[in-house]
């Protein structure tokens, strides 16, 4: 189905089901219980899951497949946001024209930056993209203030023309009348589920983005990108010019980033330059690596993981910790709370940094690799002891001379 093999179709269907059921799945604890703070099923956070999922999926098409580590992808995120807010200002609050244009404009940007940056590889490529992104960030703060509104951030004012907005049009982002911030709340026993229009809009976009990336991964084009990652020199020796392929990957991932930036502005009609700062580029790198670069699901997992931590873990303060460890004797309780204190609340970045280092050191394949390892371990347990890998004694290839 959809031009995919049976296995991939099943995979895609599972992803679609998970995405659509997110508001229920992320709300596992009943309202009012002490664990309710771990619920992530509120619209703002779910939208971020979907949006940064798209961002990371796009980044993965570049980094995961070709191995080119870009440190400047946030520039496209910012461009996308600015475009959408400008479309609000000029045309009206319908998100569609803005999103389409944000993809087009970020593609143009990516084409320009990629054309120059991809003339170098390795660390030089990283530094070139970093330089371009920092340039855009600095310019957005200084000279381009008429376009970006500088530090205040770009927003819609009552005096803006909004030529397409009719008299009865909603006064916040909407898609042909479907207002993004509207949501339906369903009370089921102790549970409250919020079904938000904006989230479902982002979810549909994310599913589309995921489908396209799945197709790219399985296509000859994806195979070519992987070949470039494995050994670009050899590719060149076979008479193949790899630059059009890497450039295409760069532009596609730039478009993804532009779409994600546009969606950010579609959920909340604001755009600020801090979205282009290099720490934002670093964040998407973190997401992709943490989840598992080069895998389909990894970047989405990483994005969800980081956004969840950012919003939930950072809310755990000393009071909550004391609540958890209240069963312990007083001195021990204080000691344990003091031990946890630097890692939660405002210090969650420390936890993230440590986690990221551990993943890079021990699990280069990210969380996905970790899960696969656990899965393999469990399966081996079930089937009773380790099996011999090759019961039929097939001949093995001789090791390479250099190994």
């Amino acid at each position: 189905m959809f031009g995919l093999s049976a296995r991939d179709t099943r995979f895609l269907l599972i992803v679609i089901a998970l995405t659509l059921l997110t508001p229920i799945l992320l709300q596992p604890f009943p309202e009012g219980s002490s664990l309710a703070q771990f619920n992530a099923g509120y619209p703002d956070l779910m939208q971020k899951f979907a949006i940064f999922g798209i961002f990371a999926i796009g980044f993965n098409i570049l980094f995961g497949l070709t191995g080119y580590l870009s440190f400047g992808h946030a520039a496209f995120l910012g461009v996308g946001s600015y475009t959408v807010v400008w479309m609000y200002k000029l045309l009206g609050y319908n998100v569609l024209p803005g999103l389409l244009l944000s993809v087009v404009i970020s593609a143009a940007f990516a084409l320009l930056i990629g054309f120059i940056s991809l003339r170098r590889s390795g660390i030089y490529f990283s530094i070139l993209t970093l330089a371009f992104a920092q340039m855009s960030y600095n310019l957005a703060y200084s000279v381009l203030t008429p376009i970006t509104n500088g530090e205040t951030g770009l927003q819609v004012y009552a005096s803006d023309p909004q030529i397409l907005a009719g008299s009865g049009a909603p006064t916040s982002p909407h898609l042909f009348g479907l207002v993004m911030r509207n949501s339906a709340q369903v009370d089921l026993g102790g549970w409250v589920f919020t079904f938000n229009v904006g989230y479902y809009f982002c979810a549909v976009m994310a599913i589309l983005a995921f489908y396209i990336s799945l197709r790219i991964f399985r296509s000859p084009f994806g195979m070519m990108l992987r070949a470039i990652k494995t050994n670009q020199t050899r590719m060149n020796y076979t008479g193949l010019n790899s630059r059009p392929y890497t450039l295409a990957a760069f532009v596609i991932s730039g478009m993804y980033a532009g779409l994600a930036g546009g969606l950010l502005a579609a959920m909340d009609p604001l755009a600020g330059a801090e979205r282009m700062q290099w720490t934002a580029s670093g964040e998407v790198v973190l997401m992709t690596i943490l989840g598992g670069a080069g895998t389909l699901m990894g970047p989405v997992l990483g994005a969800g993981f980081i956004k969840y931590f950012e919003n939930i873990f950072s809310k755990i303060n000393d009071g909550i910790l004391h609540g958890w460890f209240a069963f312990l004797p007083d001195g021990l309780e204080d000691f344990i709370v003091a031990c946890f204190h630097p890692f939660v609340g405002k210090g969650w970045h420390l936890t993230l940094g440590i986690l990221f280092m551990l993943v890079v050191i021990f699990l280069p394949g990210g969380l996905v690799e970790g899960m696969q390892r656990i899965w393999r371990l469990v399966r081996r347990r079930k089937s009773g002891g380790p099996k011999r890998k090759d019961p039929e004694h097939r001949p093995t290839a001789a090791p390479h001379m250099a190994e």
Binding site: L128, S142, G353
Partner: protein
């Protein structure tokens, strides 16, 4: 003319910081072949060594001063730093006043120790992994170091003053025959520039004139052959990592009076220092120093009002523009060797 001299002077102190950080980065890259994204964090930790030193020296206790009274007529309680108590108000006061330069004493062992720990504990395991992995793990380390500092010192910048002897400005123009008050330059920035020259000179002399430095240079050129000659090059490279960390730390210590240290200053300097290294040429020590000063001066020229009115926004992007042009036209950098990471 006076404007040009002023801009050159203004560029020197920032250029000195770039040059020192880039020098350390290049030392690490040249010896160990590792791209160290945590180097900015080392600079930042150096700056916080100065803050720690200042706090240590101004540790004080309360004492009743019988000669003075507060507004109610009670004897006045005054805070007396222990240092003043031990060494008397004159010498003790001077020590408190000079806490930033004295921070060097703290920074050297701390930074060398940190450098050793980093190299032996972490970087060592990444020599054979791709550059992307090295960037990523040191990037993660930078986040961790930064957050630890934030935990202990808070998120706000901490003012640390220069010794009062250097607090004023120097009328540089009168030396060159200009009118007074045309070219004035803060004393501390001049001290910083001279300090960086001393450090840079020291590092080069160490590499050029000692046996140890000769072995290290040989190892930079051809690691395997030096190893085959029976020299434990790994141990020396570890020492070089400690040295590079110390250089970054000292640059940070002395920079505190110019810029109040905050926990993310390292990241801000890191990005620019990488650009400096690339412009100078990966693995070229003189290139890093030259490019550091050049880019610092270039940046201060670009922030002149005359230039800004001609090309708006140039001051924000000039360094990056230079880097892009250099990378595209001469990828090995100003003084890089041919073939070192040129692709």
């Amino acid at each position: 003319m006076d404007a040009i001299i002023l801009q050159i002077l203004n560029g020197l102190d920032k250029g000195s910081a770039y040059a020192l950080i880039a020098l350390g980065l290049t030392l690490i890259f040249g010896t160990l072949g590792v791209v160290n994204f945590a180097h900015g964090a080392l600079f930042m930790i150096g700056a916080f060594c100065a803050v720690t030193m200042q706090r240590l020296l101004s540790l004080s206790y309360e004492e009743i001063d019988p000669t003075r009274t507060d507004f109610l007529g009670n004897p006045l309680k005054v805070e007396v730093p222990y240092v003043e108590h031990w060494f008397g108000p004159d010498l003790g006061g001077a020590i408190v006043d000079w806490s930033v330069p004295l921070g060097i004493l703290l920074a050297i062992p701390v930074m060398i120790g940190l450098g050793f720990a980093m190299e032996r504990g972490l970087i060592k395991h990444f020599y054979k992994r791709p550059h992307a992995d090295q960037i990523l793990v040191t990037f993660g380390l930078a986040i961790v170091l930064q957050e630890i500092i934030k935990y202990f010192f808070g998120a706000n910048p901490i003012q640390t003053g220069a010794p009062s002897a250097f607090s004023g400005s120097f009328d540089f123009g009168t030396l060159l025959g200009f009118d007074p008050n045309v070219i004035i330059y803060p004393y501390w920035r001049m001290v910083y520039f001279l300090f960086s020259l001393v450090i840079i000179g020291g590092v080069f002399a160490f590499l050029q004139f000692t046996t140890f430095g000769m072995v290290v240079r040989a190892g930079m050129a051809d690691r395997e052959t030096v190893g085959l000659l029976g020299i434990d090059i790994d141990r020396r490279f570890t020492l070089m990592f400690g040295l590079a960390a110390a250089v970054a730390g000292l640059a940070g210590v002395m920079y505190t009076p110019i810029l109040a240290p905050n926990y993310h200053m390292g990241m801000d300097f890191l990005v620019l220092s990488f650009v400096v290294v690339v412009v100078g040429g990966m693995g070229s020590l003189p290139g890093a120093v030259l490019a550091g000063f050049l880019l610092g001066i270039l940046q201060s020229f670009a922030s002149m009002n005359e230039v800004k009115s001609l090309i708006p926004g140039i001051d924000q992007v000039i360094i990056y523009l230079v880097a892009i042009v250099i990378l595209l036209t001469r990828p090995r950098g100003l003084m890089g060797r041919k073939g070192v990471m040129e692709d």
